[in-house]
Symmetry: C2
């Protein structure tokens, strides 16, 4: 009735017409402006921090330093290494040192300028590849390693010994800025009974909830977190909103006034998390017939100054490091290391775009070396149902990879297209590149402790339904998709269902909204909850329908006998009767993923509950006169189990692909060797515009997941993940130039192109 | 651990220090001021209503009349007779006719003045006793009777025939104004997805919820009602907030802006509900030895222009009309009739203060006539366990009346005091008066369909607990008392429990917060909910404690084995373990009262689930030179089953008694015979001040109710109910003057006093 329909997004109108209320639109009586004093130095010891002059400025209500934090001076993410405000040392440009709350923006800025701060500079570590250099400073632990994961499977020595061909290469990626439309911002309001309410832009209200409680010292029951309309997130609002909320909260408690703290764009770019720069060294062994038997991979992530999410980002990176291939002998080491740069964190794909860029480029290179067709090499080695992944996980169901690949090939008319593109003898060279990828849905073995969701569903006396979940809408369309699931489950029209804003006081901790888990995991909790409600209604009206509750079903706005569908009550009528009998039609339901087996020493076990799959075919044009590469067309086939709303699925494919294109071609955030960010503004950091958008052909593959709501798996991150290698492979196809470091800007492409042109 | 303790009110500090946020303190960006055009004429036909000039005034965003209401033009209470805005006729001074939303108060007032309104006057019906006069207009139905209830029990003809003494008298009462500190007010905010959020001062969020949905035409799922700090209510915020919310909501939807609509004090007094004026005719038959065998009572309530709550107020009045006495032969008729005056509604006691004033005065008069001691007459006839009430309800438990009376007599040293007061020969005459009363707890047989509650309880990861209910805090201390119940149930300190603000989107419809039902009914729902949580925790930790879940108990911040209390986990530890196992610790629970038997034709059946009981002993001083009567001392003994918080029980006794004293001695709201209110301001309507407060001796009697939380029954209204007759009886004791119409102002007392003085 509702699932599978292209219903309109519930938030579309408000967002398109400017009516959506973002945290920066909110005002409360007596509200103050919060600001953060940040380090301009990448590494140094604070030797003076005097806020007394700043406090005396007219309109300034308070100036706080680490000493003034009522609870713990820590923003817990995976570890507890990151302070809310720096104390003795600063470790990156942008690190927060002090906070101001003032009547006005001007007064707050004046106060920041009046803070007396002296820092003794220290030589920074900025190149992650030097993390173990004896001359490098130790920024974390004994060795600068935040995290080291391993995968050990089979026997790589034997594997390489038996290989006909060994291929070895190194790939590098750099930062990606989230470039969300709405910068970070929070509004904290002290409540009249000594608690605090926090409104703001975020992905993970329960992370913020825990952080604000830790930082303020308030019990969690007195902290309430409300997500406001969130203008994009992409992982950038997973962990760092806890910092912003912490700052606003301590200011609000100190001044006993509402405090709004919104970051400026440059401030946000300088100080907020990014995608980890990486170096991935790949060594593959294969038979001459194209059986890839062995992989040895070394992964290095530049984590920046604090661990934040690096250990888990790295984990997803290592699990996906061999791509969607069955390779029996594998040894992978992955390290995230400390540098004096901005802490990196979550970004759509969460560590896998880096490793997938490497492996999917390497597969192409290996095919060339083997003299095999790249499609054939993939077909030969791609994972299929019943196969084991590199972590030893048997894929028992929902493996739509082959379908994705074949459909993409078919829709793009791959062979014909590829050869026809070569006919053009002009200065624009065109080529085709492929990538096949997979994506572990949900938090996986590394996040089992967080893998729970709750849902609140309340059937109103007029038959309309309110529901709430603990996962968030950040533009992906979750509120609409979950509404469709509720409507389908209760058998009522989508229009009769309304999704409440996320409020930590309305649902239990439902984990973070990350890892493409919202549809699947909140969807499951909603189904559990709706099931209780249906069971309660069935009990209430079974007598009236002359049958037993187990013979009652719901659909088409009716409650009917399964053995005699003509005998029914309208939904509205059934609700009225049930409420008259005081039936419970407001229910909180819970769902959780079972614990998974995982051996951290060997990296063996069931990494994820299920995987989504994708194949991308990219048509790229390279202007040989300028070195400018453009993505012209993209066939993106994705298996998400079930497209609850095909329009939103296509929207995710389009948005994610363009974001992946930006990552591939133009987006380059530069922190120089001294640790200074060079281009924290959109004039110099180039995200794609509408004019750059290629023609995208989204292809939906539905290989149902039996445990997902109506078969759905998550896939929101996946569209970005395979774009860079597909483009790199296409550039090679077009020009013969192999780029092993993104982004593929003219500055990188042109010199190599010139070499090739000069050779010919 | 927490129940029975004198813990501090959770809202005390915020209210005492001015930090509490009332709806008038709230501001939202773009917020407009709402105002209401009201009739200055008690009865007339609208012949012109032109808002075009008003709309053109600068700063005015909209002017709305009945024709502009998007949904139904009705404020449903018991019937659907009252419009949100008048259409053809106006029926009382203060009736709303049109609405304005403007940038400022000034612009709104200018717009009201610019509305072109012409009304053809009609002769009003203002004296309820003339409701059936052929010359009176018909304002409702065919006979001006909104409601007629009956009680028929035994045989009054035979009863009076056998009586040795027959006593007959008429008693009258007038209006009482609620005089809440905070006038009515609502703030409506259109949501970005086409719904509406309403914040305001109220008792019954679910009444407001239904009304706003009806009036706006929005589905209930898109309407959210949040109760703000409520500065007093006393029944005055039971039904009328639906009107105020309706006005604010239609203005907000029309302007697409937040609209705040706060009534001024005089506007509030003129237009908002009051306690019903009444005439109660009592005829009692008794044996010479003092057995009261027969009662015939006729009750007439002045309901005002619309029915609102009159049918149910009248019902409570009739059920309590014979006071707490066992009388076998009873015939009572009660009518609520229409007049061209402000609609009367709920007020602490809900119809029973009027009838209890009559019966408790009559008992005193009967004792005199019988030549019996008033205490002895009460002792002889008071209801006791096992007795039947006049509705035939057998009192099976929790009848603390005798204890109340004896304790009050004992604490006041009644006999000695009464005789010693007579020793004073000065111009100040002192006397003692007694009343014994009872109060049916909860909605009773007339409100069974509303008798349900829900509760949300969420145990946070740090072990602190949030809970929400659908009943409201309006000054009575409910949030504190319910917190004590939660803490006691879970066995944790009260400080670890936090009560969330009431929000219709957080809990199911829990019925109205009226009828002294919040502690008992929300308390029961909380116990049900906590019980589920405890059961879930027990299942999670039983293994760890080496026993089965049924052998697990909670207390003293521990989860322990019942057979071995030394084997335990701390609460915090148990919560952590349970959450690690993904146990559901956030639960919505439901409770409801069973349907009761009730025969509306005979007024026979179980009227209420249980009764609270009270005895008041009042010491009054009358200045024979001025006719001023003062309540000097009051011994107020109340049986509320269990005092969850004795301090709050005493607070209710003190506050209710003083409010009852105001009703008895000074408060007189006058609408003249033309239908014009004469004194809608506190300069002329005299509520007691601190200086008038007598010495009050609250006496707690705990006759446990087996179905109540920890034995508690409701009793919040009861302290007011018996004050007027106790004072009237004391005035008689002091002076020999019997007053049968309240308030007992010098204007009423002095002429009669003069007669007595002149006689002697």
């Amino acid at each position: 009735m509702a699932v599978g329909k292209r219903v309109k997004r519930v938030d579309a109108h408000a967002k398109a017409t400017g009516k959506a209320v973002y945290v920066s639109d909110m005002k409360f009586p007596g509200m103050l402006v919060g600001k953060v004093l940040r380090s301009k130095i990448p590494f140094g010891k604070i030797i003076l921090l005097d806020v007394s002059a700043a406090k005396r400025i007219k309109g300034v209500h308070t100036v706080l330093t680490a000493a003034d934090i009522p609870g713990k001076n820590v923003c817990h993410v995976v570890y507890d290494d990151m302070p809310l405000l720096a104390t003795d040392y600063v470790r990156y440009v942008g690190e927060p040192i002090a906070l101001v709350a003032a009547e006005s923006e001007d007064a707050a800025v004046s106060a920041l300028e009046a803070i007396d701060l002296e820092i003794d500079d220290l030589p920074p570590l900025t190149d992650p590849e030097l993390y173990s250099n004896p001359e490098s400073p130790i920024l974390y632990g004994k060795d600068n390693i935040f995290s080291h994961h391993k995968i050990r499977s089979g026997d790589i020595s034997a594997g390489f010994d038996k290989s006909d061909i060994i291929f070895e290469q190194t790939y590098r990626t750099t930062y990606q800025e989230h470039a969300y439309l709405e910068p970070q911002g929070m509004l904290a309001i002290p409540t009249q009974e000594g608690g605090i309410d926090v409104y703001g832009t975020m992905q993970c209200p329960f992370y913020v909830h825990g952080a604000v409680s830790d930082i303020t010292g308030l019990p969690q029951s007195k902290v309430r977190i409300v997500q406001t309309t969130t203008g994009g997130a992409f992982g950038g609002k997973e962990d760092v909103p806890s910092l912003v909320a912490g700052w606003a909260s301590v200011l609000a408690l100190a001044t006993k006034r509402p405090v709004k703290l919104i970051l400026g764009r440059s401030e946000d770019m300088i100080s907020m998390s990014k995608r980890h720069p990486s170096r991935v060294q790949v060594k593959l062994g294969a038979s001459s017939s194209g059986d890839i038997t062995t992989a040895e991979i070394d992964i290095l992530f530049d984590a920046g100054a604090y661990a934040t999410l690096s250990p888990v980002v790295l984990w997803r990176g290592i699990v996906h490091a061999c791509g969607p291939y069955k390779i029996p002998n594998v040894k992978i080491d992955a390290r995230a290391v400390a540098t004096n740069k901005v802490p990196c964190g979550a970004y759509r794909g969460f560590g896998s775009p880096q490793t997938l860029f490497a492996i999917e480029s390497a597969i192409d290179e290996l095919a060339l070396k083997l003299g095999l067709d790249d499609v054939e090499l993939r077909r030969k080695n791609n994972l299929a149902q019943g196969d084991a992944t590199i972590t030893g996980q048997i894929l028992s169901e929902s493996v739509g990879l082959q379908q994705c690949l074949e459909k993409a090939l078919d829709k793009s008319d791959y062979r014909t297209l590829k050869s026809s593109l070569k006919d053009d003898c002009g200065p624009i060279k065109r080529g085709i590149g492929i990538s096949t990828i997979y994506y572990g849905v949900g938090l996986g073995a590394g996040g089992t402790h967080l893998a729970r969701t709750g849902a609140y569903v309340s059937v109103q006396p007029d038959g309309s339904v309110q529901f709430a979940v603990g996962t968030t809408e950040m533009g992906q369309g979750m509120r609409t998709v979950l509404g469709q699931i509720v409507a389908e489950s209760l058998g009522i029209p989508f229009e009769n269902v309304y999704c409440l804003p996320v409020d930590s006081s309305r649902v239990p901790d439902s984990g973070p909204t990350v890892a493409s888990r919202a549809t699947t995991m909140s969807g499951r909790a909603l189904l559990v909850t709706c099931s209780t409600i249906k069971s309660n209604i069935a009990k209430a009206v079974a007598g009236e329908l002359g049958t037993s509750p187990k013979n009652i079903a719901f659909g088409e706005n009716k409650v009917f006998r399964t053995d005699d569908p003509g005998t029914f009550l309208s939904w509205q009528n059934a609700v009225e009767k049930a409420l008259a009998l005081k039936t419970a039609l407001t229910v909180v339901g819970h769902d959780s993923s079972p614990p998974t087996n995982w051996n951290e020493d060997t990296g063996q076990g069931d990494a994820y509950v299920v995987f989504a799959w994708a194949a991308n075919i990219a048509q790229v044009a390279v202007d040989t006169r300028t070195g400018v590469a453009r993505l012209e067309k993209l066939w993106a086939a994705h298996d998400m189990g079930k497209a609850i709303n095909p329009t939103l699925v296509e929207g995710q494919i389009e948005g994610g692909s363009v974001q992946g294109m930006g990552y591939s071609l133009t987006e380059e955030y530069i922190i120089d060797e001294k640790g200074i960010p060079l281009n924290p503004r959109f004039s110099f950091y180039h995200i794609p515009s509408t004019m750059d958008t290629p023609e995208i052909f989204p292809i939906i593959v539905e290989s149902a997941y039996s445990e997902g709501p109506y078969g759905a798996k998550g896939f929101g991150e996946q569209p970005l993940m395979g774009i860079a290698p597909a483009i790199a492979n296409a550039i090679f196809d077009a020009t013969g130039v192999r780029l092993r470091e993104q982004p593929f800007t003219p500055e990188r492409l042109w010199p190599k192109l010139k070499e090739v042109i000069d050779e010919n």
